[in-house]
């Protein structure tokens, strides 16, 4: 598919800042989508509120840009009423883990066939850089001028514990691994979750001595550790995720029966 067919040109120019990691993610997603040979007309993109949730607006397909935090709940209704459609949710750390945390946990548990892609930039970017639930311990933001005293939430570990069929975390520096995981996630039957640790130089890096995207990508490179090498550490890493290290890799790949099969909606569509 031509890349200009993939994007919705009438929505241009886009809202993303120079150096934003969402462009990298969108490129990886386009590549994964194209290589899988999926069709746009049979795919629905759902987003909540925030920078990352704007992605569906720029893809030339049916898109549901919903309320803050509820994207998974909207997607659940959509998918169960039309099981023949492919549903992909784009969300961010605040949208998914803070205001939408309950829907995230229950989405993983319910295991409806959908792919959730969380662009985790450790900050509320659209509103100007407030601390989020994934802001690393002691990092600065506009609402934590003396450093965040809370500890970050590990979204991928929650997805594993809550029962998602596929969970992976990469950074925007790991584009090949990320593309591979996006493909695996979209092929997976059931709830698949890909967390992309992404740079926000404008609102996160700038306040934490990483004012451009290169500095942030360097930071990702230096602090990423493959999950299989950190199993012991991963069990007790309340201040990790970003502060000490970014655990990356495929967290889980299993085949629990998905909800549509269990309630039998697949048969009648």
């Amino acid at each position: 598919m031509d890349i200009f067919e993939f994007y919705r040109k009438e929505q241009w120019p886009h809202v993303f800042c120079p150096g934003c990691g969402i462009g990298t993610l969108m490129n990886c997603f386009y590549r994964a989508f194209d290589e899988l040979g999926l069709t746009l007309d049979k795919t629905v993109f759902v987003g909540g509120i925030g920078c990352s949730s704007r992605v569906p607006l720029y893809i030339n397909s049916d898109a549901l840009h919903t309320t803050h935090g509820r994207a998974i709940a909207f997607a659940t209704g959509l998918k169960l009423a039309r099981p023949d459609l492919k549903v992909v949710v784009f969300t961010g750390d605040g949208d998914l883990g803070a205001i939408g945390g309950n829907h995230f946990i229950n989405g993983c548990r319910r295991n409806v066939d959908m792919t959730v892609i969380c662009i985790n930039n450790n900050v509320y970017g659209m509103t100007g850089g407030q601390a989020s639930i994934t802001t690393p311990h002691n990092f600065l933001s506009t609402t934590t001028p003396f450093g965040s005293k809370e500890y970050p939430l590990d979204l991928s570990e929650i997805a594993v514990a809550a029962g998602a069929n596929y969970v992976a975390r990469w950074t925007t520096r790991h584009v090949h691994e990320l593309t591979r995981s996006l493909k695996a996630a979209m092929q997976k039957k059931g709830f698949s979750f890909v967390e992309v640790v992404s740079q926000c130089p404008t609102n996160f890096g700038r306040r934490n001595k990483m004012a451009d995207s290169t500095a942030m990508l360097e930071w990702f490179k230096d602090n990423s550790v493959r999950r299989e090498k950190t199993r012991a550490a991963a069990l007790d890493h309340v201040d990790l995720n970003i502060a000490g290290q970014i655990t990356i890799g495929e967290f889980v790949d299993r085949n629990r029966e998905c909800f549509e099969e269990l309630i039998g909606v697949e048969k009648h569509g």
Binding site: R8, E10, Q11, L40, D41, K42, V44, V46, P56, L57, N60, S61, D62, A63, L64, H65, T66, T67, R70, A73, F74, A75, T76, G77, L78, K79, L80, A81, R82, D84, L85, N102, H103, I105, N106, I263, G264, V265, H268
Partner: protein
Amino acid sequence: MRTPAGEYFLQGNEACVEGAITAGVRFFAGYPITPSTEIAEGLSHRLTGKNGVFLQMEDEIACISAVIGASWSGVKSMTATSGPGFSLMQESVGYAAMSETPIVIVNVMRGGPSTGQPTRASQGDVMQTGYGSHGDYQVIAFAPATVQEMFDLTVDCFNYSEKYRVPAFLLSDAEVGHMRGLLTVPEEVKVVDRKEKGLMRQDEAYDVPDELVRPFPTFGKGHKTMITGMTHTDKNKIEPEDSKVHTELVTRLSKKVLKNRRDINKWEMMCPGSRTMVVSYGSAALGAKEVAAKDETVGLLRLKSIWPFPEEVVHEVASKCDRILVCEMNLGMLYWHIRRAALEAGCKKIELLSKIGGDPPTPSDVRHKLRAMGAV
């Protein structure tokens, strides 16, 4: 799959389930809450494995979200809740209004504020239904008073919601929801389906009422629709900073409901032309109905639809009577709308019989109040 024609002895909430099935509901998402739970329980039996989806979500916000999502896939969808759950849904009610999503929300009202009286009736959510979400928008709300109306008005909720692409509410209460009574299901029930974009059927069901209502671009049919709660143009381009686009959009959303008020509004009139008129709705009207049936000097206007506010009929009644008594199970909500309309029509004496605590006003409550007003 619709309910076979015939007579049934049912609870109000069960009649609502049959109404929804008859109207063609295919998706229900709910969360347990007294006194509306029977609707979820009933629909779990009637939908699961029968070409429909029943879903119990993690909270009421998720319920209304799932219902809106399902509606965009082209199926008729609904949820049912009560006071606290209804408050949680408000943000997405505004989303449904802004994105013009047809959905049905049943609110079996209970005593509030807060947890209040979970098992007792009230009419405390009237203003919240009309104005609960932020911003300007209009919705459609019906208020049933009997088991039969729980069926009939549920069907109407779906029909008007589909026709005008707005959220429609069934404002029942614990009294009507748990009341048992006779339900007659007729052979023919008028069912309206939404006009989908790209469909060229000329029959009545697919007729878009006017240019204010746009054909529905169902997902998965290649329309490349972009649905958003942000200010958007007709071509679904977001324009949150454009004051002209915002004005046009929000004005049209209100106008499509207000302009079609005569089509939407329903009421029951007893002894029209009496010098004394009682104006009421839902179970609060049942006491006054008994009074009006026995005393021909007292008339009754029972509103079956309360939003959009039935301006015309209240105006007509008020212009022909000396005094109006409004009966409500709250401390005065629709009263202020009725009072304004009646004063404009020239009626000078408009009083309120308000009763909260869970019991609807009895005939003697009504008679007592009318006596105090010097009416009987």
